[in-house]
Symmetry: C2
Subunit: 339 residues, 2 copies
């Protein structure tokens, strides 16, 4: 297999910077001979990390210097205006210039979104970018969007999210006609706000396979392939899920650590618990797409470890290999014609 994909990696992004991004990249290069990487960022810390890992730059692993970093809590507007040579921005520019097929960053979400929108521009037919990710379900996974890019959404935005999510699921998972559900507070059509009701009408009239309203529990029940909601609700869904999973894991750990007998039980149950942990491990779902832009940008969780960041890189590669961008572009163009 020869190299078919170039990923620009914001090496400085995330809570751990090169300490996570570099080893994740090295793991990926070993596993996937079709991928080459451009590490974007400050030369010294990247080279130090490579040396520490006893790795060197190769034809498949290049370094593209960028002199600045966007802080995790930096206001997006400031990052956009003042940090013109940030690792995040330069990585996105490599996508715009066709040097890379996609870029991946674990950096500041707001800054990534604003910069990507500024550098790459929106596709015709799509008003706003949406953040889409997969969550596990009882029998597979589900795409959920938007996850925080758009706090106030009109019906037309939710409609566009549904269209993009449907194409994403079809392209990445090879599903014929993925089902799309609209997140609401009841299954009945009379439920919800006016925005939700109008969005349901638009989705019902569109060519996608619209299932109707779904409720919060339907996300994990695997009722549909794609769940559409505004960015506020999507962010709350994601964070609430993280919190609940964390709490349950803590409680289980405490129960197993209570005394000698429960510790023994833990030992006996260890293989099962490990297998369960692997199945429910949210790190394998790391990697959120910024959809609607004229280029593939994938956001990793800021706190991602090596395993999680590698999954985000793999997810970006699968988006490119499945031509998600081109497919959304042609669907969006039709959307624009039909409006």
């Amino acid at each position: 297999m020869s190299v078919d994909i170039t990923i620009a990696v914001d090496a400085m992004g995330g809570d751990y910077g090169p300490g996570v991004t570099v080893p994740a990249v090295l793991e990926l290069l070993e596993r996937d001979p079709g991928i080459q990487i451009i590490l974007v960022g400050l030369k010294e810390p990247i080279e130090a990390e490579l040396a520490h890992r006893k790795a060197a730059l190769t034809s498949r692993l290049r370094l593209h210097p960028a002199s600045e970093m966007v802080a995790m809590d930096e206001p997006p507007a400031q990052a956009l205006k003042k940090k013109k040579d940030s690792s995040m921005r330069v990585a996105i520019e490599l996508v715009r210039d066709g040097v890379a097929d996609c870029c991946v960053s674990a950096g500041n979400t707001g800054a990534l979104m604003a910069t990507a929108r500024f550098i790459l521009k929106m596709m015709p037919g799509i008003d706003r970018p949406a953040i889409a990710t997969t969550l596990p379900t009882i029998n597979g996974h589900v795409y959920v969007l938007d996850l925080g890019a758009n706090v106030d959404c009109g019906p037309e935005h939710l409609h566009q999210f549904g269209l993009m999510g449907s194409i994403l699921a079809a392209a990445v998972d090879g599903k014929e006609r993925p089902t799309v559900g609209l997140l609401n507070i009841g299954h009945e059509a009379i439920k919800g706000s006016e925005v939700i009701k109008s969005a349901a009408e638009l989705l019902r009239a569109s060519p996608i396979n619209f299932y109707g309203n779904v409720e919060g529990d339907d996300i994990y029940r695997g009722t549909v392939d794609v769940v559409v909601c505004d960015g506020f609700v999507g962010n709350v869904v994601l964070k609430t899920s993280e919190g609940l999973a964390w709490m349950l894991a803590q409680m289980l750990r405490r129960e197993f650590k209570k005394n000698l007998l429960t510790r023994l039980a833990a030992l006996m149950a260890m293989p099962v618990l490990n297998s369960f942990r692997k199945r429910a491990d949210h790190r394998q779902y790391n990697g959120a797409s910024l959809l609607g832009l004229k280029g593939v940008v994938v956001k990793s969780h800021g706190g991602a470890d090596v395993y999680a960041f590698r999954h985000a890189l793999q997810y970006a590669a699968s988006e490119v290999r499945n031509q998600v961008l081109g497919r959304i572009e042609s669907a969006a163009a039709q959307l624009e014609v039909s409006v």
Copy 2:
């Protein structure tokens, strides 16, 4: 201990009607000599259930007939207009007339809300009722409101919810100055919609102990005592949590059932898993308050079993015993004066 509380129970409400409500009431009467119950509903099925349980009406267990039932999927407006002798409505009227101190129903939420509002009226100073419930946290529990009564909320409504939630937590849990968090998509004050930002300002200026913005995971981390959000978001939080907990339990079960070895491990781990299940059991959190009304109304989950419905009854009793109504009334009156 002599009888100090009378609870009117909508015996017909919920997915199982008297099959759940009657045995739950019998359990409670045995446990709490301070409580007396008025079962409201159709005479025959209630008496049949009592006979089936070898129980009889007593001075502490009376029956108040009501000839109609509100269906779980009946439109609230229809229930309000056409079912003037429903078990739900009559139970609420007993509260209005001072015959009962509170009422509990597992029936149709929308109908319960609309009927309670119509019969009992709102407190001065509170515009809309809110549904509040407790959710487990890593070290205790948290009150969350609103959970579905109000789809579109203005800043003043979120402010009122914060006030009512704060009083609820103070009264029921005996907390001096409970902390109140506003559910948002980031901790920073610049995050969120205009409604959220204005609500934060109102909450910050009010006498309650406002913590600031919280995110979804803070709910289960126990960051604050009370979490405020609009009814759409609250409903999604609740349902998403139910779905995730269900999925994780299913996955764990599947792992333990894989083969003979894992079944053996399950046997060894059983006491620990049971203790964990007990700790995480959402049924003990059953019972949501309808706050802001001139009377105590508690909503049970429609699918509640006997154990869960008994918890809703106990919760209603604790609300009355802790004088939640009077405390909210005086705080709301001050709110009205200050506006």
